[in-house]
Amino acid sequence: MLLLENGHPVTDRWSYATEGEALGTGPVIVPLSRLSEGLGRSAGELGVMLPVDESVSVLRGALPRLSLIVITFPVFRDGRAFSQARALREHLHFTREIRASGHVLPDQYEFLVRCGVTTVEVPDNTDLPVWDRALHQFRVAMQPSVVNEKPTGFGLRRFLPA
């Protein structure tokens, strides 16, 4: 699995918790069912996986302690996680990393970012230039988003960052 940020591969310093094993002390991503166990650790950064059928509000109390939230696409056609990402930014004012996992297409990259997603997990054998192009080939969007792009000065349109 590769991790993309802003169109390029970056080092993934996080690891997913292994079932039946203790969490350790490094940056770890836990399933929602182990959130309190994660919060109980005395040290180490904490990430959590938000199931696609959960409301983001289940994370409200834990939010100040979370450095990463992973949202999941069971299949690329299932767009619920777009709303989860947007709600984390707009309703819960979460400012740290939101990571997209599961089945996503490069053609959705721009939408993910505009909904507030920071990083995307992609297969090792993916065609990287396609992802980079998918994110950077557009200069204009037709509506505002939680990323607060610069208005064009007309209508609801926005200039996308280069």
Binding site: S55, F76, R77, D78, G79, R80, F82, S83, R86, A87, E90, H91, L105, D107, Q108, E110, F111, L112, R114, C115, D127, V130, R133, A134, Q137, F138, R139, V140, A141, M142, Q143, P144, S145, K150, T152, G153, F154, G155, L156, R157, F159, L160, P161, A162
Partner: protein
């Protein structure tokens, strides 16, 4: 170099077009980039990098369907309005990439049925040169926003809804959050109390009117629809202020995206969610989202709306003069013209003007089809007689919005030569039909041949005038693209043990007296169905009171008597 220094933004575009939003360089850049993206996607599909499963939603996003025999390209006609140069671009696509014709749909779009996959990026370029696109004419996203075909012209209109339709078009175009919804999502908007957009049969239907301070207010209907489960929409708001229009629609879509069913495509439309939750619970969830959201981000300030409005050209009407008198003279001289004026025109708000409905339903013809030559002629007529503007109706006809009354005779003569002057608007042969099994992979039965048989059977215009207002809609399958539930007489194609057969529904209406047609009885063969319609009409002619429409007689007498006419042994 930053993006905004590369794209020039015109504050006031030079060429404003009557009835249409004028694109600037920013809008054109947007389209250009999206066509490049689609060309890249087609290449990745052809090379095998994308599976058909992965390519499908991407091509659908660009209006490309795979039908029975070929790809079909559906082009968006936002709020049903076209400029002459756009109509000519459509004619060019019909000629260069199709078999010389296009088909106007029940959602104010036009589709081309014989497109090659490799040609689609080039066809999209032809569209883009005319500031058009096929984005979101299919797929599980917000579809083309439809509006009243007499917008900005009708005498009964309170507010021209096209400015807000344009705002919604822009807002919904490649919306990052709402492009992978549970199912398709259709919005219609009207500014007249006479509902000509079937607002109550849309996922969201909007009826605009001016408020006490002159600022627009919107009635909001949600969860209406036809298809397998016909439902009349629920009114969510009576007086939504303009500044909250986009925010409130965001809230509705957010609730739908989160809670709409994704396990069964036949239960995935918002109407099913509204029914499952109940109107009150649904409203509550929308209100909760609406009060929690960052409303400022989506607020429509008056200046923003005005800036969009300023990009619409406004017709410069001439004084009435003796136009009505000259029209009256011409009508007196020519009875055929007089009959056409009576059926194919609509009252205009400006004295001395009328709107003209051009029938795409000639006797024995295919509803909604137009040849490249007819499209070119319509473009010319729009240019000469209607400020260069043509409209598409959801009943598969086209409209010249602003024709001066003393020039109507010229228009009629030109239309007559091209076979476009059938005086049958609102009559029994003004039939709505989906493409059916002749084209569509979903259909159970052909909709076109039965439509042609009915059209031929009732071709006599004297007879049609005697029958009066009667709407027949035909769908080739239960998905109901022909809106058969919303017709006085609906015809639904079904598969009866491997044979094409047709079910009748009676008593539907898509207007402000919206109702859903009821199934009359077992399905019949194509010819028996045509005969049955003829018997229903004869029965109505005998039983009607005064000027009662077929629909009124049916509602007064009830189903049983009409059922006997079709099914009782002679």
């Amino acid at each position: 170099m930053s993006a905004d220094t590369m794209i020039r933004e015109e504050v006031v575009p030079v060429n404003r077009q009557v009835g249409l939003y004028a694109y600037d360089q920013v809008d054109r850049t947007f389209l250009r980039e999206r066509i490049d993206q689609f060309r890249d996607q087609v290449a990745r599909r052809v090379s095998g990098e994308l599976t058909e499963d992965e390519f499908k939603p991407l091509r659908l996003m660009n209006g490309l369907y795979l039908q029975l025999h070929a790809y079909m390209l559906r082009v968006a006609v936002p709020y049903g309005t076209l400029a002459s140069r756009q109509v000519r671009a459509l004619a060019r696509i019909a000629r260069e990439f199709d078999r010389g014709y296009g088909h106007f749909t029940t959602r104010q779009n036009i589709q081309f049925n014989w497109i090659r996959l490799e040609d689609t990026p080039a066809a999209l370029e032809v569209l883009a040169e005319a500031d058009m696109h096929a984005i979101q004419t299919s797929g599980n996203c917000i579809r083309n926003v439809t509006s009243d075909e007499f917008a900005g012209a009708a005498a009964d209109e309170l507010l021209d809804p096209r400015v807000h339709a344009e705002i919604l078009r822009q807002w919904s175009t490649l919306h990052p959050e709402f492009t992978f919804l549970p199912r398709k999502f259709k919005i219609a908007i009207s500014g007249s109390p006479q509902d000509r957009v079937a607002a109550r049969f849309h996922d969201i239907g909007l009826i605009a009117r001016p408020g006490p301070d002159g600022r627009p207010l919107f009635e909001v209907f949600v969860g209406g629809g036809l298809g397998r489960t016909p439902i009349v929409g629920t009114k969510l708001r009576d007086d939504l202020p303009e500044e909250d229009l986009v925010a409130y629609l965001e809230a509705i879509l957010r609730v739908y995206n989160e809670f709409g069913r994704r396990d069964n495509i036949y239960k995935a439309r918002i109407k099913i969610l509204v029914q499952a939750l109940g109107a009150e619970d649904f409203r509550q969830r929308v209100d909760t989202e609406f009060s929690a959201m960052d409303r400022a981000r989506y607020r429509l300030e008056p200046a923003l709306v005005q800036a969009i409005r300023d990009r619409f050209g406004v017709p410069a009407f001439e004084p009435e003069g003796d136009a009505p008198a000259l029209l009256a003279q011409a009508r007196k001289k020519d009875r055929a013209f007089d009959a056409w004026v009576r059926t194919n025109t609509h009252p205009h708000r400006a004295p001395g003007y009328l709107s003209v409905v051009v029938s795409l339903k000639p006797a024995g013809g295919i509803p909604g089809d137009a040849t490249a030559e007819q499209l070119d002629l319509l473009a010319d007529l729009a240019e000469r007689f209607s400020f260069g503007e043509l409209r598409v109706t959801h009943l598969q006809n086209v409209v010249l919005g602003h024709v001066r009354q003393d020039r109507l005779y010229e228009v009629w003569q030109a239309l007559s030569v091209a076979g476009l002057a059938t005086a049958n608007i609102g009559f029994i042969t003004d039939i709505v039909a989906c493409p059916g099994l002749d084209y569509c992979a979903l259909a159970n039965a052909r909709a076109i041949p039965i439509s042609q048989k009915l059209s031929s059977r009732f071709a006599d215009l004297e007879l049609q005038r005697e029958i009066g207002a009667l709407r027949i809609n035909i769908s080739g399958c239960i998905n109901a693209c022909g809106h058969h539930h919303a017709a006085h007489i609906g015809i639904l194609g079904v598969d009866k043990r491997g044979e094409e057969a047709f079910q009748l529904t009676l008593g539907g209406s898509g207007e402000e007296d919206a109702s859903i047609g009821q199934i009359l009885g077992p399905a019949m063969s194509e010819d028996d169905t045509v005969d049955a319609v003829a018997r229903l009409v004869d029965f109505y002619l005998v039983r009607r009171n005064g000027t009662e429409r077929f629909l009124d007689t049916y509602r007064r007498i009830g189903t049983a008597a009409f059922k006997d006419v079709v099914y009782a042994p002679a």
